[in-house]
């Protein structure tokens, strides 16, 4: 799911200079207070996720015991036992309290599809997702920031028009469709182009051991990563471009030029650092969007990560896994955001040196 590029231009609360600490006080205390406020906010958000999950999954039509064990034949006695285990015979408030306690103890229930605890299932799938999203983000951020900087610095040039046009096209392309196209061209092969990349998974059954294993996985990673990067980097490009365009008009850039600095020094040492900070914050605010992209990409390429687990749970439907993955993914996104927010506050010299 995408975010309109123009809404990315809203710098949000973190970029609001008024949110910074007042003058005269030591710089550390306000940062600490800010961090505590942010962490408190994050805890509240995670709490809201847990509450929302409880009530959302009570909306499932029909008997929850049957919904959660779909396709598993159970006798009436077994169903009765299950209902008691799920606490369905207790009042709603008690059910809610039990749910919160279990969730906080990281007990996310049992999947009847896999016959395993959901926490274990999720733990198995975290690694591949981190590899995919991590690699993708690093490439997308560096590429997007570089190209956005170049486009803004020479705005109106052919490179700028090409970059803006390309990001507009990439923004209109559904992630999964781009994945299908790349799969068709580079994995299956079209006409004279041979299929050079694997079509699915992270490793084959005959995967080599040792250092060759890394190469083997990297070979499988190319297409999923490329898809994720293509869709995500366009947004970073647009944000960096508009953020740098805002800086170019500022007086200090003119001053730097008037001092006789070379053009690339003005860019590297004056304009870009200032444009970078709001951009990096936005990169993290939109991490939820990257997660959505990862679900599509993992589904298309059967990459064995959290996204694929979630997709399989939707398809089942396996409500226990769906519920667990949902809470874990949301929590991860909230934590990432908070970290970025606090790091931004520590790093931004405009705030730090107050």
């Amino acid at each position: 799911m995408t975010v309109p590029p123009d809404t990315l231009l809203d710098p949000g609360p973190a970029a609001d200079p008024a949110a910074g600490p007042g003058k005269g006080r030591g710089a550390r205390r306000p940062v600490l207070r800010y961090a505590l406020a942010k962490i408190g906010g994050a805890a509240l958000s995670i709490g809201m996720v847990i509450v929302a999950t409880f009530f959302l999954f009570r909306l499932i039509p029909g008997d929850p015991a049957i919904a959660y064990t779909r396709d598993v034949p159970l006798s009436p006695e077994q169903l009765d036992l299950l209902r008691r285990q799920m606490g369905l015979d207790k009042p709603l408030t008690q059910q809610f309290l039990d749910f919160v306690t279990r969730t906080l103890r990281l007990d996310l229930g049992t999947s009847y599809e896999y016959k395993r605890p959901v926490t274990e299932l999720i733990a198995d799938r975290v690694g591949p997702t981190l590899v995919l999203v991590g690699t993708g983000l690093v490439i997308a951020v560096s590429l997007g920031l570089w190209q956005g900087t170049r486009a803004a610095w020479n705005h109106g040039s052919r490179f700028d028009r090409f970059s803006t046009g390309l990001s507009l096209v990439l923004w209109s392309v559904p992630t999964f469709w781009l994945g299908l196209l790349l799969l068709m061209v580079f994995a299956a092969g079209v006409g004279p182009i041979p299929g050079i990349f694997p079509t699915r998974g992270m490793e084959d059954v005959d995967a080599p051991g040792g250092p060759m294993y890394l190469l083997h996985v990297a070979h499988h990673l190319v297409l999923p990563c490329l898809t994720l990067v293509a869709v995500v980097y366009a947004q970073y490009l647009l944000v960096m471009r508009s953020s740098l365009l805002d800086e170019i008009g500022q007086d200090y850039v003119t001053t730097a030029r008037a001092k006789g600095l070379r053009d690339d020094e003005v860019r590297r040492r004056h304009a870009v650092p200032n444009a970078l900070l709001p951009t990096v914050t936005l990169v993290f605010i939109h991490i939820g969007f990257v997660v959505g992209g990862a679900v599509s990409v993992e589904t298309v390429y059967s990459w064995p990560g959290l996204g694929l687990l979630f997709y399989e749970a939707i398809k089942g439907p396996d409500f226990a896994v769906m519920q667990g993955t949902f809470m874990v993914v949301c929590t991860a996104v909230i934590v990432m955001n908070t970290l970025a927010d606090v790091a931004y506050h520590v790093l931004d010299p405009r705030v730090r040196s107050a």
């Binding site: 309109p4 809404t7 958000s45 507009l168 392309v173 799969l183 605010i285 939707i314």
Partner: protein, 293 residues
């Protein structure tokens, strides 16, 4: 009354004049009109019987030919016919969920900007929560829990995509409410409702219009993604067709027409909406007017 009308007419003709200068916006509008007209005409110019898998006449997965300009699908239906009928579902869901999303976003944004203190804080807390959460994941969960159907998909997309609009509208509301005439109106005894609907709403309406256009674009992408990931509305849409192409291995077996046709339609329509939205924004948003973006 007539003074207002003259002023509105003048504003509208100024808007038309400025929009015409946006070349990309004109192309976008042309594609949009064509897509909507085709979608509306589909029941008149085609026979819905061709959509029935049991009455399909073509060979299975055959490449484009004179009879089937875009080839056929896994059960021998014409891909062209499916694309035409699918456009109705995709556009309907796109428009309706954008409408829902904009309504929630505008109400939340104006309320969060107008009221002060804890009410505003609570509203912004909720908005930020929705902004940060992965909306696709939330929409998938909603669609899976509520069960299939067009209205479920519209609800799932609308409820998960309004947060950025609310942010935008709130910022605009704050700037409108800082103007002296609001204070004057308040001094004359205007209530919350009067200020929000008579003064703030007309001022944020242009922004809402531009944002809705962009929102339709992302709603169509969202619909196709949901359908591809298995949360479809039960009727053939572009995303649902791509789901079918994936299930039948069209991408890996070289049935390129089945993958390309619906995908290109999505990209064309989404780009058209985006171009229109950006053009509208350039014309209507005072912040961007005259800026070199």
């Amino acid at each position: 009354m007539s003074v207002t009308r003259t002023r509105r007419r003048a504003a509208f003709s100024r808007f038309r004049r400025e929009y015409r200068r946006q070349r990309a916006g004109l192309y976008g509008a042309a594609i949009l009109v064509a897509a909507v007209v085709l979608a509306l005409l589909t029941p008149l110019i085609t026979d819905p019987a061709g959509m029935d898998v049991t009455k399909a006449t073509g060979a299975k997965m055959s490449p484009p030919s004179l009879d089937f300009p875009m080839g056929t699908d896994e059960s021998g239906r014409s891909v062209l016919l499916m694309v035409l009928w699918g456009s109705r579902v995709s556009l309907l869901i796109g428009f309706m969920s954008a409408l829902l999303s904009m309504t929630i976003g505008t109400v939340m944004g104006i309320a969060a900007g107008h009221f002060r203190g804890w009410a505003s804080a609570v509203l912004m807390r909720i908005t930020d929560w929705f902004l940060v959460l992965p909306s696709l994941v939330l929409a998938l969960v909603l669609a899976a829990i509520l069960g299939g159907g067009t209205s479920t998909i519209i609800l799932a997309i609308g409820v998960t995509s309004w947060a950025s609009t609310a942010r935008l509208i709130r910022a605009q509301t704050l700037s409108v409410e800082a103007r002296p005439y609001i204070e004057r109106s308040r001094a004359l005894g205007a209530g919350h409702w009067h200020i929000m609907t008579r003064h703030v709403l007309p001022n944020v309406a242009p922004l809402v219009l531009a944002n809705t256009t962009l929102q339709v674009a992302s709603a169509i992408v969202a619909e196709s993604t949901l359908a591809f990931l298995g949360a479809d509305s039960g009727s053939v849409s572009w995303g649902g067709m791509l789901r079918g192409s994936y299930d039948w291995g069209a991408a890996t077996s070289g049935a390129w027409w089945y993958v390309l046709a619906p995908g290109l339609c999505i990209v064309a329509v989404v780009m058209a909406f985006t171009l229109c939205g950006r053009a509208l924004e350039a014309v209507l948003n005072p912040r961007l007017r005259g800026a070199s973006r």
